[in-house]
């Protein structure tokens, strides 16, 4: 069979496929999980992903941007899979979910550090389950045994930290994946416009203050950038990412991605960090051999 590529769009999925006679590559975007942010499109090495703002309908709330993948361009490397904080993208080769770049250590995985100390959980508390803006937490409690289990869909969690902050017992600890800055220029921000607020997937990351101005609560912001895409006013919203928590990596492809996601400065910092680490290891090794020689 000659190679075939196709795109299938359903209500809840966007699927592109490249079929060879004896091998099939498939990329799926889960429309329910995808928030329409810019991360995957920023780093796609083939520039195959396009994020488009939906036209605004007067009087209605702003919708999340739509994402489209060019089936002729995509080569199923899996960078988008690795970078998506919402776990909305999947690549499967012959039916098996895989990210080729992660598998071959050419690209890092995001580190989602979430720890729950269920011994602290009162059996009647469901606070975290209720506050999670993405409905990723399920709590089951057994009041007889006084046991609570907290199940978190980690692979889809952007680590906004809402549960951490809201937990009355301090049982959940979440470390952020992305750090950065989000600033709203109140001069430029059109009053009455609530587009960013409507599109933001994290409840409370953006809010209206007492003067009806939109403010950022950086405690919860995941720096995904949906707000920036839907914002109608150029320069009203400024977003910059600084660090991204990821598994250790040595890869040009990651450096490039990091440069696009954050800045050249961050790449330099990361590289310098790696250099320092290597230098420290070398010193440690030398000292050890010295010690052995003396000992």
């Amino acid at each position: 069979m000659p190679m075939k590529t196709q795109k299938i769009t359903t209500d809840n999925q966007l699927i592109i496929e490249r079929r060879h006679h004896a091998k099939t590559y498939k990329l799926t975007i889960d429309q329910a999980s995808c928030v329409g942010c810019e991360l995957c499109s920023l780093i796609c090495p083939r520039e195959a992903i396009k994020v488009t703002k939906k036209p605004k309908i007067e009087g209605e709330k702003a919708e999340r941007p739509t994402i489209d993948v060019d089936e002729a361009k995509c080569h199923y490397c899996g960078m988008c899979v690795a970078i998506c904080p919402y776990g909305a993208v999947h690549v499967a080769v012959d039916g098996e979910n895989i990210s080729l770049v992660v598998e071959k250590e050419s690209f890092p995985k995001l580190i989602r550090e979430i720890s729950v100390d269920t011994t602290k959980c009162p059996t009647d508390c469901k606070e975290c389950e209720e506050v999670c803006p993405l409905n990723l937490i399920k709590i089951e409690s057994n009041s007889i045994k006084a046991q609570v289990t907290v199940e978190i869909l980690k692979e889809r969690c952007p680590c906004c930290g809402l549960c951490d902050v809201k937990c009355p017992e301090g049982a959940i600890q979440v470390r952020r994946i992305f750090t950065g800055k989000l600033r709203i220029d109140q001069e430029k921000c059109p009053s009455e416009c609530r587009d960013c607020l409507d599109a933001c997937p994290i409840t409370g990351a953006l809010f209206l203050d007492e003067k009806d101005k939109i403010r950022v609560n950086e405690l919860f912001c995941t720096y995904c950038g949906v707000c920036k895409i839907v914002c109608p006013e150029e320069g009203a919203l400024e977003l910059s990412r600084s660090t991204i928590r990821h598994t250790p990596i040595r890869s040009g492809a990651w450096n490039k991605a990091l440069e696009k996601l954050a800045s050249t400065l961050e790449v330099t910092k990361e590289l310098r960090g790696k250099g320092k680490k290597r230098a420290m290891e070398a010193v440690k090794k030398r000292l050890e051999t010295r010690r052995k020689q003396i000992g």
């Binding site: 069979m1 006679h21 080569h75 071959k104 890869s251």
Partner: protein, 657 residues
């Protein structure tokens, strides 16, 4: 000689009854004798035969002739013969003129012999008028670069290169892909012997790679070519591999760490390859290539390569220039993919494949490891229909017969039956089965005995419909007698047409050679000069001249090498002096000649501070267009000077007055 008064001898040929059956040869001889300056005239039964030639030599000596006219056939065939004859008798070969009284008179006026004789007289009179004004000319000698360029590293080009290298000539083998090997390297087995294709081609490829006289220039394209026989200048652009040839050991460690997989075109996109890889295991040269369209620059390969330091992301395209004396064109063929033909459902139905795709399926090193499986469900088919002449022998597509499809289908049917025995039903839908070379008919018999069903149908009214549920295919056809045929099969293999390489036209333009309506290169003469082009020093080998199978491509490859050696083995090459001559006193350097020349032979150049037309003798083909176009009359064509042509006109119009 110039001052000497002309002493012309006229030899009239009977050409058996070809001329003498219509034209009164005796009368023509007597007529010739009456013309001024004719001192001798004679007729011969066959002037081109030895006794006839001897008559000419004798005539020159006995009558002290200084001009010779032969009234016979077209100069195309025997002009060189008679030039040689007169020079053997001590006369300058260009003091000879031919009068074509066969094509121009006896053949076209067979029913009117009287008028034919009169016309023959006119033709002879014209030839004599011109002969009086002939001047001795000297042949032009040009030096020869004894190196060759072979374009295309398929089996034909490989043989040309190896043969020339073995004769001791330096050969550049230009290949557009990463590896030589061509189509033959994609095949599983070869008919009629069922030899493993790469097992017999591989060693030849290795020989090419190792031969001290052969330099493979792979992953490169021809940019331009100039010059002429013995003296071609060729520009080649090497695409960057991003891997340093000398440092790459071909170990493949880089491939192991590379995360990126992209469709392997060499595998007809049925399988994938890594962004740094070789197209197939036996590749020659064994040098890896990074496909920058896909590479994500993670530099894992750089780490894996380590101290060998073979990877260089800064590589740029490189242009090189080489000098060669002869060029062999062996660029092969391509496939017609019938996507646009709705009857076959190719590209639409999963289980309809082409023959080459089938070849990759049944090949042990192929994308399925040699398992013939359906794309729809990965299962082995229990019935396969082969459909012949898809695109070929179709007046609306390619009118010609692709030549080798019948035989490869026989091969596929034998292979399937021998591999799966009674577990598979094989049908061949054909119109005419052609098995006309050594061992081929015997192979056809083997296929028939093997249990394949051969169903003869019309070329028209064939179609395929897919059963949406089972993904089986229902093949419809019509017997020669008009009865409908319906076969349900689990897989259909199309014998799709082989076609000329797409950029053959571009190459033809660069090399100044011709292509036919189908895109194949035109040979000098289809019967007796099938390996030469019209451009001296450029030869053809393999399927690019006309579709042919492996043994014939190999033979023509060797043939082209032998012909190239006829040029390369000489220190100098003789060119007939029938080239344009510029009178520098008259030429104003206007450039009209340059604009009309089809061979880049005339150029305006600065000569002694003056803009003048300059003729490159090796390139000039003596067509005369520049001479006719020159507004100042500064360009003359030896043997067709103004005076000579006017004299001929006067001679023929004399009678009208």
């Amino acid at each position: 000689m110039d001052k000497e008064s002309p002493r012309i001898g006229v030899f009239v040929c009977h050409c058996g009854l070809n001329i003498a059956g219509v034209v009164d040869v005796k009368e023509l001889v007597e007529f010739a004798k009456t013309l001024p300056d004719v001192v001798y005239a004679k007729d011969n039964r066959y002037t081109c035969a030895d006794p006839g030639q001897e008559e000419i030599r004798k005539g020159i000596k006995e009558h002290n002739l200084n001009r010779v006219v032969v009234a016979a056939c077209s100069p195309r065939m025997h002009e060189p013969t008679f030039r040689r004859t007169v020079s053997e008798a001590g006369l300058n070969p260009f003091l000879f003129e031919m009068a074509n009284i066969r094509e121009f008179s006896s053949w076209c006026h067979q029913s009117t012999p009287k008028e034919a004789t009169e016309k023959a007289k006119d033709i002879v009179r014209m030839a004599i008028a011109k002969a009086k004004l002939l001047q001795p000319l000297k042949e032009i000698e040009v030096p020869v670069t004894n190196k060759a360029l072979v374009i295309g590293g398929g089996i034909a080009g490989i043989n040309s290169a190896l043969d020339l290298a073995e004769m001791g000539f330096k050969v550049y083998l230009l290949e557009k892909n990463e590896s030589i090997g061509g189509h033959m390297a994609q095949l599983d087995k070869t008919f009629p012997t069922l030899d493993c294709s790469i097992c017999i081609e591989g060693p030849k490829m290795v020989d090419v790679g190792r031969h001290p006289n052969i330099e493979i220039i792979s992953f490169a394209d021809l940019v331009s070519a100039s010059g002429y026989v013995g003296n071609f200048k060729v520009k080649i652009k090497k695409k960057p591999r991003y891997v340093i040839h000398e440092n790459c050991t071909g170990c493949g460690e880089c491939k192991e760490v590379c995360p990126i997989e992209y469709p392997n075109e060499w595998d007809i996109n049925m399988g994938v390859r890594k962004a740094i890889s070789i197209p197939f295991e036996q590749a020659v040269p064994l040098v890896y290539t990074i496909n920058m369209d896909y590479c994500i620059e993670c530099y894992k390969c750089v780490d894996a390569c380590g101290a060998r330091q073979a990877i260089n992301f800064d590589q740029k395209p490189e242009e090189i220039e080489i000098d060669v004396g002869a060029i062999i064109v062996a660029i092969g063929f391509e496939e017609y993919l019938p996507y646009a033909d709705p009857l076959y459902g190719y590209g639409k139905y999963d289980n309809v494949i082409t023959a080459l795709e089938f070849e990759r399926l049944i090949l042990a090193a192929g994308p399925t490891g040699g398992k013939v499986i359906r794309a729809s469900d990965g299962e082995k088919p229990h019935s396969v229909v082969f459909i012949q002449c898809v695109g070929s022998r179709d007046v609306n597509k390619y009118e010609y017969c692709s030549g080798f499809c019948c035989m490869y289908t026989l091969k596929h049917s034998v292979m399937l039956k021998e591999k799966y025995k009674d577990n598979i039903q094989v049908y061949v839908i054909y119109t005419d089965l052609r098995s006309d070379f050594k061992g081929y008919e015997e192979f056809y018999n083997r296929a028939k005995k093997g249990g394949a069903h051969f169903v003869r149908t019309k070329l028209e009214n064939r179609s395929i419909v897919e059963d949406a549920k089972t993904k089986n295919l229902i093949v419809h056809a019509e017997t020669m007698g008009g009865k409908p045929v319906e076969i349900e099969a689990e897989m259909v293999v199309l014998a799709n047409a082989a076609v000329a390489v797409q950029n053959a036209t571009e190459l033809a333009e660069i090399l100044n050679i011709s292509i036919d309506a189908n895109g194949f290169f035109v040979e000098c003469q289809p019967k007796i000069r099938p390996t030469e082009t019209d451009t001296p020093g450029i030869f053809l080998a393999g399927a690019c001249q006309g579709l042919k199978d492996i043994p014939y491509s190999v033979s023509q490859g060797s043939g082209a090498a032998a012909l190239a050696a006829t040029v390369l083995s000489k220190p100098t090459w003789i060119i007939a002096p029938l080239v344009a001559k510029v009178n520098e006193d008259i030429c104003s350097g206007c450039g009209v000649c340059e604009s009309v020349c089809g061979y880049d032979a005339v150029k305006i150049e600065q000569i002694n501070g003056k803009e003048l037309a300059k003729v490159t003798e090796g390139l000039c083909r003596g067509c005369g267009i520049c001479s006719a176009a020159c507004p100042a009359g500064a360009i003359t064509m030896p043997l067709y000077t103004k005076e000579q042509v006017i004299a001929q006109l006067r001679a023929v119009l004399e009678k009208v007055k």
